[in-house]
């Protein structure tokens, strides 16, 4: 059985699964129920001067019958008095001494930072998370993402906090920037002990086309909100790994962004996170989802021969390279399993219109295929396609022209039956070579371009 416990910048947690600062960590009762369910840590809903919220607060993006692929919120930080929150933090920490309790903070002035840090630490916080990322409501007041988007301000406030704090200071970054490494470097220069990212992405989820009001609607108007949930996972993974591979940043990362399953968590950890934070999936399904996260991650580590989460942290980071370092000679082609194919022909439609027209249907000769939009006719037509009779299920099973297939993956991605289309490695007959290799050798010129370029390169 793998050891799931982690040490995050000095904060011990029985497992890497934390709740993010959000409605699920609004009250002490909630946090305790979450700990009872198995969560290793929680980041308290951001403390500051209590705000007033609007109604309604959330919007969602559904995808077909899948509800809440993305969630958008226009909710602000805590609307409860500071003393109530602090009292509950004290109680939770006393009852759950082994869980990680991080308190999120967002205030404006230096004096306010000094006061709230002292109060949060007196209440028993294991660490502090500075919210430099809220992308709505607070940034207009000079806080939240307004800070996250200004590296110099971010660095200064981080420095104050690190000076006042006796516990680790985690800086939570906003993704609403051009280059996430800039605020990350600023936080590290300011002395941050750790980073957490991503906060939510500025967004508008839709429009009420009858009232002509963006969503979610508050009376006769709306405003932009913060987007999160499974939809943002790829953006978060990129930003986490950008920081993880940065040679100048060595602090631990708490990864956030659409994590719903143990596999999502494992991916974030493999790309550099030491702990992960979850919000949307809990809001959708409840605290109970952590049971399979723990069970699944534990079995995964066992299967891979890893004894602890620490052995997984950053395992995929070295394989994240620049595009120019990718092997141009690596070749895969699509392979359609005729026994599993159900004949929907979505791969055919995708390849015809969205890729390279190399998926063919049985029953066509060369003339017909070219007339329908193919550019080449395959030299080898598989027997099953030659023998297929019209009107039979076999007649609907497409086949791949492997000579023309460029191995883009699109057909495998659209195929609805898992395991039907696989990308198989085939030898390209060429030695491994990257674009950077070609630049170094001077063989990076591809003919057929601009005259100006050809002249500049002495090829004109």
């Amino acid at each position: 059985m793998a050891d799931l416990s982690i040490d995050f910048a000095g904060v011990k947690s029985p497992n890497p699964f934390w709740l993010a600062s959000a409605p699920p960590t609004n009250t002490g009762d909630q946090v305790m129920r979450a700990f009872d369910a198995g969560w290793g840590g929680a980041v308290w809903k951001t403390l500051g001067n209590p705000i007033v919220n609007v109604s309604s607060r959330f919007g969602g993006v559904d995808y077909g019958t899948q509800k809440l692929m993305g969630l958008n919120n226009i909710e602000l930080i805590t609307d409860r008095p500071l003393e109530v929150n602090l009292r509950e933090i004290r109680e939770v920490k006393k009852r759950y001494p082994k869980h990680a309790l991080v308190v999120s903070l967002m205030v404006e002035t230096k004096e306010e930072w000094a006061e709230i840090i002292r109060k949060a630490e007196d209440a028993g916080a294991d660490a502090l998370e500075l919210n430099f990322g809220c992308p709505h409501g607070m940034c207009e007041r000079g806080m939240g993402s307004a800070v996250g988007q200004e590296p110099r301000v971010l660095e200064e406030i981080t420095r104050w906090a690190v000076e006042y704090a006796t516990t680790p200071v985690i800086i939570k970054l906003t993704p609403n920037v051009g280059d996430i490494t800039e605020p990350a470097e600023a936080a590290v220069r300011g002395g941050a002990h750790a980073l957490s990212l991503i906060n939510t992405i500025k967004s508008i989820v839709g429009v009420d086309l009858d009232r002509m009001v963006p969503l979610p609607r508050v009376g006769s108007a709306s405003s932009n909100g913060g987007y999160c949930g499974p939809a943002v996972k790829p953006i978060a993974l990129h930003m986490v790994s950008q920081i993880a591979r940065h040679p100048g940043i060595q602090v631990p990362i708490s990864g956030i962004g659409g994590i719903a399953t143990w596999r999502d968590a494992a991916e974030f950890i493999a790309l550099g996170s030491t702990s992960v934070q979850v919000c949307t999936a809990v809001m959708h399904y409840g605290y109970r989802i952590v049971e399979d996260m723990i069970d699944g991650l534990s079995r995964f580590l066992d299967d891979k021969g890893m004894k602890s989460v620490g052995e997984l942290v950053g395992r995929a980071v070295p394989q994240y390279k620049e595009w120019g370092e990718l092997d141009l000679s690596y070749r895969v082609v699509a392979d359609i399993d005729a026994n599993k194919c159900i004949g929907c022909q979505l791969c055919y439609a995708a390849c015809m219109d969205g890729a390279h027209q190399c998926i063919h249907l049985p029953g066509r000769d060369e003339r017909r295929a070219l007339a329908l939009g193919h550019l080449h006719f395959p030299k080898k037509v598989p027997a099953r396609a030659r023998d297929a009779r019209p009107g039979t299920p076999e007649f609907r099973v497409p086949f791949v022209d492997e000579d023309e297939c460029i191995g883009c993956n699109l057909c495998a991605l659209v195929c609805p039956v898992p395991g039907t289309i696989t990308m198989k490695e085939v030898p390209s007959g060429r030695a491994p070579e990257t674009w950077n290799d070609r630049v170094a050798k001077g063989t990076d010129f591809v003919p057929g371009g601009l005259e100006a370029t050809a002249r500049a390169r002495g090829k004109g």
Binding site: T261, R263, E291, D292, G296, R299, K340, P418, G419, T420
Partner: protein
Amino acid sequence: MGELKLPGGRLEEKFEDAKPLYDDAEALAEANRCLYCSDAPCIQACPTSIDVPTFIRKIATGNIEGSAQTILAANILGYSCARACPVEVLCVGACVYNQWGREPIAIGRLQRYALETALRKRPRLLAGARKPATGRRVAMVGGGPASIAAAGLLALEGHRCVIFERKAIPGGLDVLGIAPYKLQANDALAEIAWVLGQGEIDLRTGVEVVDGEGSAPGQISARRLLEEFDAVLLGLGLGEDSKLGVPGEQGEGVVGATWMIEKLKSDPGYTLAGIRRALVIGGGNTAIDAARELARIGVPDVAMVYRRSRNEMPGYAHEWEGARLDGVRLIEKRVPVAILRDVNGKLVALQVAEAHEGRAVSSATTDIPADLVVLAIGQAKMTALARAFGGVQLDARGRVVVDPATHRTGNPRVWAAGDCVNGGKEVVNAVGEAKIAARDIDRVLRGAAD
């Protein structure tokens, strides 16, 4: 005890699986359709309270072993139940999709997929953490699902279990009674072999527990079990198929339903060749099963003869619907009054009278030609064997009386579970009762205050 496997050539092998094993893609698609309800009705509908939404979600997240473990934690015979349960009236019938007018989740098929997939990869999977040996010994009387389940659970608790099964083939109705198009005998036997691996379990087939001395070979007395074991679980099941008690009943061509199904499933020598017209007497699930099996194996004309009206048939509506689609006819409101034979004693016809409220009302009769008459009008209770354990009480219907919270009988060292208690229900009910009994046996064996 050699490998538990029946030889080929049995009629059962001719049946196709009505719900074939899902492949990976089918399972993933169906699992993702599940809404992952909170306080799900399917859990409440399951007599063993399997956490259905969780095991299905684990299929969706790719944690198949976790899924199997979730099932087994609640139901150690989850594999049999996945294939044999009347899901239409249990979990699948309770699925919230029914409220929505949409197809309910195929819970049983997903359950089978999770267990078969996990056990294929890790055949020695344990249903739970195995505790150290306690030195306590428990005897199970009867080797059906109640005893098998209890033995598995108690063995994981560290107790030594000995199962006494009268027949050469263990498993009771789980092996010898489930319709072949749902679950075949060798698959149920493989599950039993797996359960035996959970801990110190000794399965003794061909050993009958009896009242009295038990000195004949292949016998052991109830008294000796009480002397030599710390606790006894009665998993007696039910007895022989009940008889009609009408003239001409004795002789070839008239068989009991569970007897016939057992033969069909386990005896390579059993044949139905030459049977063109079969009549099944009864209106319950055993009658419907027998009728469907005869129809599906190729008997051209199969009819059920029931003394009341179709609406009053106690069998599941969905099973009757399946029978109807299999081509089974129903002769309702008729009661058998005699079996007619030719001069050589060969079965010729069943003589029936019109019935009202289940009783013959007219002396006018009809003769229904038949080559085979199958009696599915109930089974005897194992009352004599139950009474061999002093203090065990029976109710007016011959069922062993237990405290429902503990399944302990009137004898403080004897517990009971399964058909001998509930009168004849499903495998899942046997497991549910065995869980209660096992938990209480464990509590008592560990010296908890009584």
